[in-house]
């Protein structure tokens, strides 16, 4: 074991990579070597630290000094001043706080108090390429406990009692889903981790996978044991090159340690995981379309029932869960259902990971308890709306989620409350839009997306998305009348009841919430004027 007097953690989350963190990291490494302190200072690339629009971000330990917007030109100064002379470079210090790491938290805001990290407990703190660092944070302890001290039924009971529900959008109780597959008798069962994540505005799963891949691998081992599945697959979007590489490395490390393969922990239970790569199709996030794609076909959804729990991949019982759901499993097994239930609300226990984007001051990755209000998320965690503009709209749950107005700011963010408002938690995307934007223009962008991504298999969705796009275009061009709105409602309502999968069914969610919650602005368009001056 080597000892270092300082660690520099450079955020390697995809948004920071897009902001140029790799070049900064390389310059830090070069400067450290040139200063002759390479044996004293270790430079590590971690997962996402949270403030995605402040990148490149880095932390210097043991002080916990956070630097943001670091350029290649700043790297040498940080090394010479901070690491050689021990004087932090004040002009580069991050102005906000980062919950996982900030030691000198600014108590004037609630940013620090509100967040609670269960899923992201290790993200940004460990080197995601090191299985040793994961194990040092009690990694694989839950899998060891489950496999050697619990029966599969006890594992399922623990998850049922915890109240964990699917974090991919459908909110199905996780324990129940596992129980269905555990009860099915078959010669082969499968666990699939759905990391397709095509929902615009959503990138939490990528940051979980890239920041702490072993957490997901461990969750899948536990799920395999609970259901009797011996093979697992992680289906990752083709565009997520970094996630694919990192997860494959993680699987390899777990195999080398005997944490995947035969007879894990000497329990007699064997489990292995393979990565499958997507190729750019939003509909593949739908579980049966994903299964079709994994079988090497066009990713067209299947007619349900039968559900994957009894007839999934190759017709065998299959559990399909989202990345975030699976990342919750090891902590629940390790700490028990009562521990989990102390966070969130009675019917929506635990936390929710969101990606906060759009017109908000602190963009990025956050994890908060279920049930905090939209206002708290936007103004306390998100730091409010930039440029002195007013809040106009929040779309929750991605493009297929509902659009909420100012009147909904005090709504608790949990499954039931959002459903009552016509919306959903969905994928955890939170798109904040200020008053410089027009709701009809936003609706047109959303419809364009659905039209483009409809797989074309079922008529209501294929034709419906096209027609709705035309109608919204007509509103946008100030040429629509009341009857067009009625037609759009009728069409979207029909798609909701007759489309084969959630893509066609959910078009009505953003459309109806825009019609209902922004009716004044829609009416103005029918009268030939755009209040925001956009159309």
């Amino acid at each position: 074991m080597e000892f270092y007097r300082a660690h520099v953690l450079v955020c390697g989350g995809s948004p920071c990579v897009a902001a140029g963190c790799r070049a900064v990291r390389d310059e830090i490494i070069r400067s450290v070597a040139e200063a002759g302190i390479a044996r004293e200072v270790r430079v590590i690339e971690t997962g996402c630290l949270g403030p995605c629009d402040s990148g490149p971000v880095m932390v210097v330990y043991p002080e916990g000094t956070v630097y943001s917007h670091v350029t290649v030109g700043d790297a040498r100064e940080i090394v010479d001043e901070h690491l050689v002379k021990g004087r932090p470079v004040d002009r580069l210090r991050h102005k906000g706080e980062i919950p996982a790491i900030s030691k000198d938290a600014d108590r004037r805001s609630h940013y620090f108090d509100i967040q609670k990290r269960i899923v992201l407990a290790n993200v940004g703190i460990i080197d995601p390429d090191s299985i040793d660092e994961y194990i040092a944070r009690d990694g694989y302890l839950a899998a060891g406990t489950a496999l050697t001290q619990m029966t599969p039924a006890q594992v399922i009971e623990t998850l049922k009692k915890s109240g964990l529900r699917g974090r991919g959008g459908a909110a199905f109780p996780t324990g129940l889903k596992l129980e269905f597959t555990a009860r099915a008798s078959a010669d082969q069962k499968y666990i699939i981790c759905n990391a397709d994540e095509g929902e615009p505005g959503t990138f939490k799963d990528r940051l979980i996978l890239e920041g702490d891949p072993h957490r997901v691998i461990e969750g899948m081992i536990i799920m395999g044991y609970a259901t009797g599945a011996t093979r697992g697959f992680i289906y990752i979007r083709g565009e997520y090159y970094a996630s694919i590489q990192r997860v494959e490395r993680g699987i390899q490390q777990a195999r080398e340690m005997g944490l995947l393969g035969n007879d894990i922990f000497g329990s007699g239970f064997g489990f292995d995981i393979e990565v499958k790569q997507g190729a750019g199709a939003y509909v593949c996030g739908e579980e049966t379309a994903l299964i079709e794609s994994m079988e090497g076909k066009r990713g067209e959804p299947r007619v349900k029932p039968p559900y994957p729990g009894t007839s999934g991949l190759w017709g065998k019982p299959t559990v399909v869960n989202n990345v975030e759901t699976i990342a919750n499993i090891a902590p629940i097994v390790a700490n028990g259902p009562d521990w989990f239930r102390q966070f969130g609300t009675a019917s929506s226990p635990g936390t929710k990971v969101y990606t906060l984007t759009g017109n908000v001051n602190n963009k990025g990755l956050i994890e908060v308890p279920m049930g905090i209000t939209l206002r708290q998320v936007i103004y306390e965690v998100g730091g409010g709306i930039p440029g002195g503009r007013r809040f106009k709209m929040a779309q929750t749950g991605g493009t297929a989620g509902g659009c909420l107005s100012e009147a909904h700011l005090d709504i608790p963010m949990d499954y039931e409350s959002l459903q009552q408002a016509g919306s959903a938690l969905g994928s955890g995307a939170l798109l904040i839009i200020d008053d410089s934007h027009c709701v009809v223009d936003v609706a047109a962008t959303l419809l364009h997306f659905f039209e483009h991504e409809s797989c074309g298999q079922c008529t209501p969705c294929r034709e419906g998305t096209h027609r709705l796009s035309q109608i919204v275009g007509k509103i946008q061009h100030l040429q629509a009348s009341e009857s067009d709105i009625r037609l759009a409602r009728e069409l979207a309502g029909m798609m909701r009841s007759s489309s084969l999968c959630a893509l066609g069914q959910s078009v009505s969610v953003p459309l109806f919430t825009i019609f209902d919650h922004f009716s004044d602005e829609i009416l103005a368009h029918l009268e030939g004027r755009c209040p925001a001056g956009v159309c």
Binding site: A18, A19, G280, M294, K297, E300, G358, G364, L365
Partner: protein
């Protein structure tokens, strides 16, 4: 299907025929690890496409033969997924996001500037065969929107003025 590529001897990039024997041998070599595994068709197509940035018809025939599946199924899969192309593409694929989170942050101006800079329409390939511009539903870096991706590198927090310097890095 309008523009199914039939081997004409001259691909857009102007180098040797996309479908010569050397290329088809490379295709066969790329697909061989997947022999007998039709479920890995998507992975096989990724590997084949990496050779020339697109999938010529003749290459799909090789894939179908090696995986022992009908050509129609291979073609059906190629046309379903947006990352695959059956038409010649440039040496570098530029993927831009047109979804709401990028649009709210000014993606339209960046996309217009990009197309203007390169002198192409959406989906088009530059005259010199350097770039093909395509849309994607989301790049998953919405925290730094608007963003674009060139091959496997992502660029974020873009304003139109950033484009010339970024494009200059690609030959």
């Amino acid at each position: 299907m309008g523009g199914v590529h039939v081997c004409s001897g001259k691909p857009a990039s102007g180098d040797s025929c996309a479908c010569d024997d050397v290329f088809l041998a490379a295709v066969e070599k790329a697909v061989l690890p997947y022999r007998g595994r039709p479920e890995d068709l998507v992975l096989a197509l990724h590997d084949v496409q990496a050779l020339r940035n697109y999938l010529p018809r003749e290459a799909l025939r090789v894939v179908a033969r090696v995986l022992e599946i009908p050509e129609s199924r291979v073609f059906g899969v190629v046309t379903f997924y947006s990352m695959f192309s059956d038409k010649p593409r440039g040496r570098h694929i530029v993927r831009v996001c047109e979804s709401a989170p990028c649009c709210v942050m000014g993606a339209r101006e960046v996309i217009d500037a990009l197309l203007g800079e390169l002198g192409v329409d959406m989906g088009g390939t530059t005259q010199d065969g350097r770039f093909t511009v395509e849309t994607t539903s989301c790049l998953g870096v919405c925290g730094v929107a608007p963003a674009l991706m060139i091959d496997d590198a992502v660029y974020g927090n873009l304003v139109p003025g950033d484009l010339p310097a970024i494009l200059r890095r690609y030959e």
